[in-house]
């Protein structure tokens, strides 16, 4: 599996790869942090802000129910956002891979 002709350190030091890495890390962990915080607000709110959850918004539908449903929309939204952003990452990764080919690294 290992391909000795690829200079991994050179790719790692390549500005293109550094940029991909930096953008990816910021985007992914930022989104990850947001999703974790948003999710844990649900049980925390259910425990400590029960009165807020009880407020009726639309007939019998209350804030708590809407907040729980919003979790689904937010999760899907994150997936959608990532899918869009990831195609940019894919293009950058493809360029780096081609550069590796040019160096004669990939057979």
């Amino acid at each position: 599996m290992a391909n000795p002709t690829i200079d991994w350190a050179a790719i790692d030091a390549d500005p293109g790869f550094r940029e991909l890495h930096g953008r990816k890390i910021r985007f992914l962990w930022g989104l990850m942090a947001f999703s974790v915080v948003y999710y844990f607000l649900l049980p925390i709110g259910a425990a400590y802000f029960t009165d807020l959850y009880r407020i009726k918004v639309w007939g019998a539908i209350n804030v708590g129910l809407l907040f729980a449903l919003s979790q689904f929309l937010v999760a899907w939204g994150i997936a959608f956002l990532y899918a869009r952003k990831a195609s940019q990452f894919d293009a950058m990764a493809e360029q780096i891979a081609r550069k590796a080919d040019a160096l004669g690294g990939r057979q």
């Binding site: 925390i44 259910a46 689904f72 999760a75 997936a79 780096i96």
Partner: protein
């Protein structure tokens, strides 16, 4: 292949005989005169999966085919298969049941199971696809000492899979017994034999297709039922929930749950309370602890991670998680209607009478929607839901067995015993033999654990995955200084603390506490019956009288159940590890064990020198981010 074909035919015959011919111990759900419907639907679904296995068996030639379906599964297919792996009987029947019994809390509980996939999507799926080959051990072996980390990871994989497997086998045995009335042992053996047929003959190819078929059937069954429930209430959003809060079954249930606190509440307030938090999940800290185990544990589940080795590219891995999130999330939204629908149409009293965990909510709802226990359509629908639930258990168990067997054959036998020197034919044979061993083990454990409370084992599996597997995989992939020392420390500390904390937690049965709690139920029920008697004497309206009489019946039932519970405990006074009361107050150990797992990886790595882990870092990091090197490897 003709030999395996005839063996498949024999297995199909044997499985069907076990299902059809076993003398019914007792029948609860399907009446005997409609039993033929159950057998017909079961035979059709089992036959379909067996046909798929037969087709798959012809395609499984190499170890790559057996472990990873040759990397030839598409993103969409893998998305359905992940959903199939994930939507176990616990979520299909369990969450619908929780919602039918506890309303809002049941629904809130389902959210964490979906959010878990954000972790899988963002930080796990693609790097794992680019770095791994067949097992979690492969990912760790990339830069750490291969033999050492494969040994520890294999043990952890087998541990997590066995916990999950035991819960599935015992739950499945009970479920099949309740649904179609065959003996517990026969159901466990039937599940085991079918699952082994899928895995041994068809490897990952058959397991993937069985998951897909089962997930499609599950979603289809739920869609039909939700349509039928909602149809009765005119497809309105607010109107539907207005019906929920106005329902006498639900109001009586909430009154029963709240006890004295419900005395001054109007029926409308009682119904509204069903849509508010706090009826089931009493401890917020425990909730957060479970949430952590779910959000981090799913991404450390061997049978879920294994699915990413079956797709050709990192892009396909990404697509598959997005599809899985759409399917799983959509399914949980449907369960909100299944659960509340069952609460209104079947009633919490009847759901509890059929199964104390609420697992029968969806099957009983199906029976009601088809026209009730005396109708042919009702029993056909019940049979269909039962068959889907059965297929669910078999499929999930198949995925788990494959994950455990791969760790055994690929990591331990080929990687350690043979020192990576095994021919492909030898490895494929070893993988089949290991599947047989794990399968036999699963059947044995399933039979031995009859009657045990295994519900906490699912939470424990997630806790171990989140405390041991996820920290080591995540830090191997993202932390430059992570090394063999950290991986070993993380796996050992994470696994042991998670298991240790559960052993001294309230999950275990503490006979003295159970007796006290049941005694309290008997007392409150008695006083409630007394109060209702007074209400009944005062009531003039026949509708009100009927409601009160129903509530009296419910209270009497609760009393009988509590008395039976006390009788069941006998003279035991201590838990499994000899405690009278729990030492650790949380049911879910994640809050403590997950940080400890991460800390162990950090400290272990800092106190250990491993040149290979440093040398391989750049290669791992470039590969995991770009897919260079791997993209060609899978294209065969």
């Amino acid at each position: 292949m003709s030999k395996s074909t005839s063996t498949i035919a024999c297995t199909l015959g044997l499985g069907t005989i076990l299902l059809l011919g076993a003398e019914p111990a007792f029948a609860q759900a399907v009446a005997p005169q409609w039993r033929f419907l159950t057998f017909g639907v079961f035979a059709a679904i089992i036959g379909l999966t067996m046909y798929v296995t037969y087709r798959a068996a012809k395609r499984v030639k190499t170890s790559a085919d057996f472990y990873a379906a040759g990397g030839g599964v598409s993103g969409l297919q893998n998305g359905w298969a992940i959903a199939g792996d994930y939507l176990s009987a616990a979520s299909f029947l369990g969450i619908a049941g929780l919602i039918s019994l506890y309303g809002y809390d049941g629904f809130m509980y389902s959210v964490g199971w979906l959010v878990a996939y954000i972790t899988v999507l963002l930080v796990i799926a693609e790097p794992c696809r680019n770095i791994g080959k067949y097992t979690m051990g492969d990912i760790l072996a990339f830069r750490n000492n291969p033999k050492t980390v494969k040994a520890f990871m294999a043990v952890s994989t087998i541990t997590v899979s066995t916990f999950y497997l035991t819960a599935q086998m015992v739950g499945g045995g009970v479920l099949v017994k309740t649904l179609i009335g065959i003996d517990y042992q026969y159901s466990v053996i039937a599940v085991g034999i079918l699952m082994l047929a899928y895995v041994i003959f068809g490897g990952m190819v058959a397991t993937t297709w069985v998951q897909i078929i089962k997930a499609v059937l599950l979603v289809l069954a739920s869609l039909i039922m939700v349509f039928m429930v909602w149809y009765q209430y005119g497809f309105g959003g607010p109107e539907y929930f207005q019906k929920v809060i106005g329902d006498p079954n639900i109001q009586a249930r909430v009154a029963g749950l709240l006890g004295d606190a419900a005395r001054n509440m109007t029926p409308e307030q009682l119904g509204q309370r069903f849509l508010e938090p706090g009826l089931y999940l009493k401890s917020p800290i425990d909730q957060i602890s479970l949430g952590m185990a779910l959000v981090l544990g799913t991404a450390g589940m061997p049978h879920i991670l294994m699915r990413f080795f079956t797709v050709p590219t990192a892009q396909a891995a990404r697509t598959s998680v997005i599809w899985a999130m759409a399917i799983i999330g959509g399914f949980y939204v449907l369960t909100l209607f299944l659960g509340t629908g069952a609460a209104m149409l079947v009633g919490p009293v009847n759901i509890l009478a059929a199964d104390r965990g609420g697992n029968m909510a969806a099957p009983l709802l199906a029976q009601f929607l088809g026209g009730g226990p005396d109708s042919m359509l009702g029993n056909l629908m019940l049979s269909f839901v039962a068959a889907v639930a059965f297929a669910t258990i078999v499929a999930v168990v198949a995925g788990l067995v494959l994950a455990a067997a791969s760790a055994m054959s690929h990591d331990i036998w080929v990687g350690i015993v043979k020192g990576e020197h095994a021919t492909d034919a030898e490895e494929t044979r070893a993988a089949r033999i290991c599947s047989l061993i794990v399968g036999a083990l699963a059947i044995t454990i399933g039979i031995l654990a009859q009657g045990q409370n295994v519900a906490h084992l699912v939470a424990l599996a997630f806790a171990v995955a989140a405390s041991a597997n996820l920290p080591v995989v995540l830090l191997t992939l993202y932390w430059k200084r992570c090394n063999t020392g950290g991986v070993v420390a993380g796996l050992v500390v994470g696994t042991l603390t998670a298991i240790g904390l559960v052993l001294v937690s309230p999950n275990m049965t503490y006979p003295l506490l159970v007796k006290a709690a049941q005694q309290k139920i008997i007392e409150t029920s008695a006083s409630r019956i007394e109060q209702l008697g007074a209400d009944l004497a005062a009531a003039r309206d026949p509708v009100v009288q009927e409601v009160i009489q129903k509530a009296v019946a419910a209270a009497q039932k609760a009393m009988t159940v509590a008395q039976a519970e006390i009788a069941k405990l006998g003279s035991n006074t201590t838990s499994l590890v000899g405690l009278e009361k729990p030492l650790f107050q949380l049911r879910n150990p994640g809050l403590i064990s997950i940080p400890l797992g991460f800390l162990a990886v950090l400290l272990g790595s800092l106190f250990y020198r491993d040149k290979r882990a440093v040398d391989m870092w750049e290669e791992l990091y470039v590969r995991s981010n770009t897919g260079i090197g791997r993209a060609k490897a899978a294209a065969h």
